[in-house]
């Protein structure tokens, strides 16, 4: 069973993706990032920053990335 806090965060992420899908062009791709640690973790902060940049460079079209912390 998911905790109510986690479920809320996850729902928020999914709603964000859904809103982006409906507001933006139909071709916008979505990535939901479920991360084990919150901001402030040096490894995660560097990873997500570098990942977003690298994905932007590789993707042919805009990619919408939403980060949600789970599993703490």
């Amino acid at each position: 069973m998911m905790s109510s806090r986690l479920a809320g965060a996850l729902l928020g992420g999914l709603l964000a993706i859904g809103a982006a899908s409906s507001d933006a062009q139909p071709s916008v791709k979505q990535v939901l990032v479920l991360q084990s640690l919150d901001r402030g973790n040096l490894i995660l902060d560097q990873f997500t920053g570098d990942f977003r940049i690298a994905l932007d460079q590789r993707a042919e079209e805009p990619v919408n990335v939403v980060q949600v912390v789970v599993g703490r």
Partner: protein, 523 residues
């Protein structure tokens, strides 16, 4: 996409209810997790192989004396998970290394412990998150505090910690992990099946070390593993300023070479000057001898006068002595006095000639120029008489002494007088006069002028009279005036010639006044 193990576990657990048909990418998960739970058809992964024993091996290679390792790890679920994993992985070190875990300590206790670790200790930093009291802290804050307080070197397993007080070692490259993950994610986004996108697990990268920490802890580079890369090395003074240093060294070398060349040139110049002075002295001596040779007839006459007087007086004396009267004895005494005077006169003539004939190095001395010129006039007295020339010397009273070589300056005057005599050989007897004038120009210089009553200088002579080997005489060498000018210039003076308004020419030279009158020498 999930990042790290707990998120992967969560996604697997709730996937069917949340996103059943969506491709799933696991990243930053340990390969061991995927061995226990293999990937499904709609799943892909960018896994890592965390080799923590290798991290400890690396630390022990750099610090082989290490006997205690303080493991900084958080107290949360991830920290507890990794502590269990690490305790199992690091068992092989238990016989020679003691591991102390921070997961039961508050942050304040951790900082106190790292400040007072026993010698031969090291610190290994894992991810932190929360401490035993539940306080959440960012890694950068923890690393900065640890680095400020720790009394032992600190190691870490991820490249993100590098540059935050970590000595270094073989670390998992987070930027490489991000790039690999972006590669796989973009392929899946572009329509590739996750099952077809399989990449090998990522291993720790080649060891890297922070030069600043190596310096801080006194770790020699010779202890680092082969191929280790050293980052943040402070450039040496040479590396930072090598262009400036090279330019300064080049300028110094150039300057030294220039100074050396100038010194060599100066030495050569000195030798040349010395040689020139010696040659000039010899030439002056030769011309002096030559001039005196021209005077041989008049000098003979000058000497003959006192000798004749001595002879006549001696004969008269003998006659008086033959008489033998008392008055005659008094006459003989007077005659003997005349003989002595004549002898002194002859001796003075010979002294004057000898002083000008001698060729010896004389330094510059202070002397009375009027007396020196008077001696030259006396030397030429007979020659002037024979040529029917009247020579007069005119000088201001209390003339200051001059500085120089007395004989050389006398030679100049002798040369000018002989030239004046020669110039008047065809002049009327009434015009055969030479005026020697000694006057003060200013507080530094005297001027000596020789004015004759000859025909004066022709236009050509006026222009070339001081040139070497230029002469208007049939038997002249043409060196006298050239040498005279070089003598005067060597004394710091000037020699020049000009025609008089009425007739004749005047040769003048200046000579410096001596600085101190007490050193006057009248030779």
């Amino acid at each position: 996409m999930t990042v790290a193990g707990p998120a992967a576990v969560f996604a697997r657990k709730h996937r069917r209810e949340l996103f059943p048909g969506t491709p799933l990418l696991f990243t930053a998960v340990d390969e061991r997790y995927l061995r226990d739970a293999p990937l499904g058809d709609n799943e892909s992964a960018v896994s890592v192989i965390n080799d923590f024993p290798q991290l400890i091996d690396g630390a022990l290679q750099v610090l082989p004396e290490t006997r205690q390792v303080f493991m900084v790890i958080g107290s949360g679920a991830i920290g507890q998970f990794w502590r269990r994993e690490l305790e199992r992985d690091l068992k092989r070190f238990s016989d020679h290394v003691t591991f102390i875990w921070s997961s039961e300590l508050s942050l304040q206790d951790i900082l106190r412990r790292v400040a007072s670790l026993p010698s031969h200790s090291a610190i290994v930093y894992f991810t932190f998150g929360t401490d035993a009291q539940g306080g959440a802290y960012a890694d950068t804050q923890i690393l900065d505090d640890l680095h400020a307080r720790a009394n032992a070197p600190m190691f870490g397993g991820h490249s993100s910690f590098f540059g935050h007080g970590i000595v270094g070692g073989s670390m998992m490259s987070i930027d490489e992990l991000a790039r690999n993950t972006a590669d796989v994610a973009s392929r899946i986004l572009n329509g590739e099946s996750p099952a077809s996108v399989r990449v090998p697990p990522q291993l720790p990268s080649q060891p890297r070390f922070d030069w600043r920490e190596l310096q801080h802890w006194g770790i020699p580079e010779s202890q680092l593993p082969a191929g280790a890369e050293i980052i943040y090395r402070s450039p040496s003074v040479w590396e930072t300023y090598h262009w400036y240093i090279a330019a300064i060294i080049a300028a110094l070398i150039l300057q030294a070479a220039l100074i050396m060349a100038l010194v060599l040139q100066r030495n050569r110049q000195r030798r040349a000057d010395s040689e020139l002075q010696r040659t000039r002295g010899e030439l002056a001596h030769v011309t002096r001898i030559s001039a005196l040779g021209e005077l041989s007839a008049s000098l003979a006459h000058e000497l003959k006068q006192p000798l004749t007087a001595m002879t006549s007086n001696a004969q008269a004396g003998r006659r008086f002595m033959a008489k033998g009267g008392p008055d005659d004895i008094e006459e003989v005494r007077e005659i003997l006095g005349d003989i002595v005077q004549a002898g002194l006169h002859a001796n003075a003539v010979i002294d004057r000639v000898r002083s000008m004939v001698k060729n010896e190095q004389r330094g510059a001395v202070s002397f009375d120029i009027t007396n020196a010129i008077r001696d030259v006039v006396l030397l030429l007295h007979s020659d002037a008489v024979m040529r029917k020339i009247s020579v007069s010397l005119q000088a201001e009273p209390e003339m200051p002494a001059v500085q120089g070589d007395r004989v050389q300056l006398q030679q100049v005057v002798l040369n000018l007088l002989l030239n004046a005599f020669d110039a008047m050989k065809d002049s009327d007897r009434s015009d055969r006069t030479v005026l020697l004038d000694i006057a003060r120009v200013d507080e530094h210089m005297l001027k000596v002028s020789v004015t004759d009553g000859g025909p004066g200088l022709s236009a050509e002579s006026a222009e070339r009279v001081f040139d070497a080997f230029y002469t208007t005489k049939s038997n002249g060498l043409g060196m006298g005036l050239s040498i005279s000018r070089s003598i005067i210039e060597a004394h710091g003076g000037r020699l020049w010639a000009e025609n008089n308004l009425r007739r004749g020419a005047t040769f003048s030279f200046t000579i410096p006044i001596a600085m101190r009158a007490e050193s006057i020498t009248n030779r």
